[in-house]
């Protein structure tokens, strides 16, 4: 292991001469002594012919390019007729090395990277990253109240957007196309809000260590209120369409069963866990950002199946709307970044004639009047702030479950190691338990009920 040195050329070598391709089917041994084969399709027989007397074995690769696999998820399904006898997931097709990249950027820039992990609910990633860095710096108490309220509001809006995608794509995959069009229609006003507040529909980098990048725009409260009312109205459509719908029930009830024991063993969190009847929600159990001051309930079901998870997501949409409404009542004028000028971004962002950027007043100050302010700006932007050496783990309840961030610092201006415990990654392990023994068509229903986002799974 350690005595081998790898050169760049090793890692980026093109595949060898095509004539050598026949050799790739040769197994190589793992550390555990198991053999690992590389199959490229249509050549399974070269590796393992069916045993004597065994029925014909059919192995189907579902994905990684398949419209019902929620992105680049590959499932290797062993079939007996239409029944699934064995199923394994292969992931890594969207691995982009985000965690490694973060080690070469400043702590503030990390927000830009984590938001691209689970890109459907990116604000949760930013929130948990910011909270973890703040814990490491010991400045949790200095986060202004307004910033915390905005964080809660944005993370709940993000939960709504994520659940809508889960319900919409789940509907589409099971043939309820109207569920898809409605879900994406309903998500659009939420994304418009994001655009108005952060400047972007996704990949916001809005919640940053120390607070949020920019204050809410003037008069946005009214727009948010209108959006909530619109959502309340529109969510009824989806509820009317799917809840109690006999076709929907037929596809989802009793499918993808995973009980509490299975969830605990496999580390499953989120709607899947709550569909077993356990009201475990980190917003209640380990409140962050002042969640203990908000009134909301944790919906549960006891069916342990796809339908139960769907009902929980529908109920959580309403709860999240209630929380956003409470946030509007709690919003008081004030700063949105920590007071400490050695941490907070030196300027507020504003929208100018050429788009969003540093405010003109700030540019005027640093370029025209204050040399020290210019040095300060330059140091903080290029070098960043230092974070005391140590480690911290912070978890939030994302739309998919427990989203944890483990950050390690060596006292420098960059994360020494940043690891996201993404709920999609862990929850995806349960696919085999949910689907083996069932029908092939139920695989799709199970996957959609897990709601994995491959950006978060592979990172």
């Amino acid at each position: 292991m350690s005595d081998t040195t790898y050169t760049t050329a090793d890692a980026f070598d093109e595949p060898q001469d095509p004539a050598d391709e026949a050799v790739t089917n040769q197994p190589f041994e793992t550390t555990e002594g198991d053999k690992v084969y590389t199959v490229t399709g249509g050549d399974w027989d070269t590796i393992q012919a069916p045993d004597e007397g065994e029925k014909e074995r059919l192995i189907v690769n579902m994905g990684p390019q398949h419209p019902s696999t929620h992105g680049v998820l590959r499932m290797i399904v062993e079939l007996d007729g239409e029944a699934v006898t064995k199923m394994r997931c292969a992931i890594g097709y969207l691995h982009t090395g985000i965690e490694k990249n973060m080690e070469f950027r400043s702590w503030t820039q990390g927000a830009t990277f984590v938001t691209r992990m689970d890109y459907v609910a990116g604000l949760h990633n930013e929130l948990v990253y910011a909270l973890a860095v703040e814990k490491l710096m010991g400045i949790e108490d200095q986060i202004p109240e307004r910033a915390s309220v905005i964080r809660v509001m944005m993370s709940e809006l993000s939960r709504i957007a994520s659940h809508l995608v889960a319900i919409a794509t789940g509907g589409m995959e099971l043939g309820a196309l109207t569920g898809m069009t409605q879900g994406f229609r309903d998500r659009e006003p939420i994304l418009d809000l994001f655009e108005a507040i952060t400047g972007l529909r996704m990949n916001h980098a809005y919640i940053r260590p120390g607070g949020v990048s920019v204050d809410l725009p003037q008069g946005i409260e009214k727009t948010i209120k209108e959006t909530i009312d619109l959502c309340r109205l529109r969510f009824k459509d989806t509820a009317n369409l799917l809840i109690g719908n006999s076709i929907w029930l037929g596809r989802t009830q009793g499918v993808g069963y995973l009980d509490l024991t299975g969830c605990m063993a496999l580390g499953i969190t989120g709607p899947i866990l709550r569909a077993t009847g356990l009201p475990w929600d980190l917003r209640k159990e380990q409140p962050y950002c002042g969640f203990e001051n908000y009134e909301f309930s944790v919906p549960t079901e006891t069916t342990c199946d796809v339908y139960g998870r769907f009902l929980i997501r529908m109920a959580e949409l309403q709860e999240s709307l209630n929380i956003v409404e409470q946030c509007l009542d709690r919003l008081q004028p004030g700063p949105v970044m920590v007071e400490d000028k050695k941490i907070s971004w030196p300027s507020q962002l504003t929208v100018g004639g050429d788009g969003q950027g540093n405010s003109l007043e700030h540019i005027k100050e640093i370029m025209g009047t204050s040399m020290e302010a210019l040095i300060h700006h330059f140091k903080l932007v290029t070098e960043g702030f230092r974070v005391p050496a140590g480690q911290a783990y912070v978890a939030v309840e994302s739309a998919k479950g427990e989203l944890g961030m483990h950050v390690v610092s060596d006292g420098g201006t960059r994360p020494y190691r940043a690891h996201m415990r993404d709920p999609s990654f862990t929850n995806l392990q349960s696919v085999a338990a949910m689907t083996e023994g069932g029908m092939l068509s139920d695989v799709v229903a199970s996957i959609s009920s897990i709601d994995p986002v491959m950006g978060g799974v592979d990172r």
């Binding site: 010991g138 580390g267 480690q391 201006t413």
Partner: protein, 237 residues
């Protein structure tokens, strides 16, 4: 880093003197900015400082940490010598354990009624190449739903012998997490049912999250200016 000089269990007795735990020095820095390769003209180029990781914590830890520590020591009995030290930092408890005892300690953490850390949040690797003899760290986060608590368990192994026992038989959820840590750091989890790569392709050479892994970037030229690859840019660490 700690070398227990007393009998197992003695370390957990309350200490009233000055902390004697050796400092965990992560790094030594010189100069004002921590840069290398270009001269430090700040006038503070002679600065010299150590980056110190949080040291071993002494009793009482505070809160429920003492309860967990006591229960764990009691549950392990004579095996409690496997606990290297307790560290409380940022309001979180880290239990540093020897890798030989990791399995039994995890078993006790899960099964003891007073501990009941029944939920594993996976394992994460950290590579500290400068800590000779314990370069590779495996960090586990365990959550107790019963008591609503969270602890961190940290174990290490040397680069030359990167073996740590697998916890998949205690926490099946660690299956993919251990595969990912193997993939990224090359830590071999003994006893894992099929320890194969999970994110990188099966035939990938090297373990990308290790600090000595070559990034392989090239300088990029744009409008006459050249930007070096990320690992060759000026670093202030």
């Amino acid at each position: 880093m700690t070398t227990p000089t007393s009998e197992p269990g003695d370390e957990l007795e309350p200490s009233f003197g000055i902390p004697i735990a050796p400092l965990e020095i992560a790094e030594h820095r010189t100069g004002q900015f921590g840069i290398t390769g270009s001269p430090d003209v700040s006038g503070y180029g002679g600065l010299s400082s150590n980056v110190v990781l949080p040291p071993e914590s002494l009793r009482p830890f505070g809160g429920w940490f003492d309860e967990v520590a006591d229960s764990l020591v009691e549950a392990l009995g004579t095996g409690s010598g496997g606990i290297e030290k307790f560290v409380v930092e940022n309001g979180q408890l880290t239990i540093h354990v020897k890798r030989d005892n990791l399995h039994e300690i995890a078993q006790a953490l899960r099964d003891d009624p007073l501990l009941r850390f029944e939920m594993s949040l996976g394992v994460n690797g950290v590579h500290w190449p400068q800590e000779s003899g314990r370069e590779l760290h495996a960090v586990y986060h365990l959550r107790s739903y019963t008591h609503n608590r969270m602890v961190r368990v940290e174990s290490t192994c040397p680069d030359a012998d990167p073996h740590i026992p697998s916890l998949t038989d205690i926490y099946p959820t660690n299956d993919w997490h251990e595969r990912e840590t193997y993939d990224m750091f090359g830590i071999i989890f003994d006893g894992h049912p099929y320890l194969t790569r999970i994110q990188m392709p099966d035939d990938w050479p090297g373990h990308p999250q290790r600090k000595d892994y070559p990034l392989g970037g090239i300088p990029v030229e744009y409008k006459g200016a050249t930007t070096p690859p990320p690992d060759q840019r000026r670093s202030y660490n």
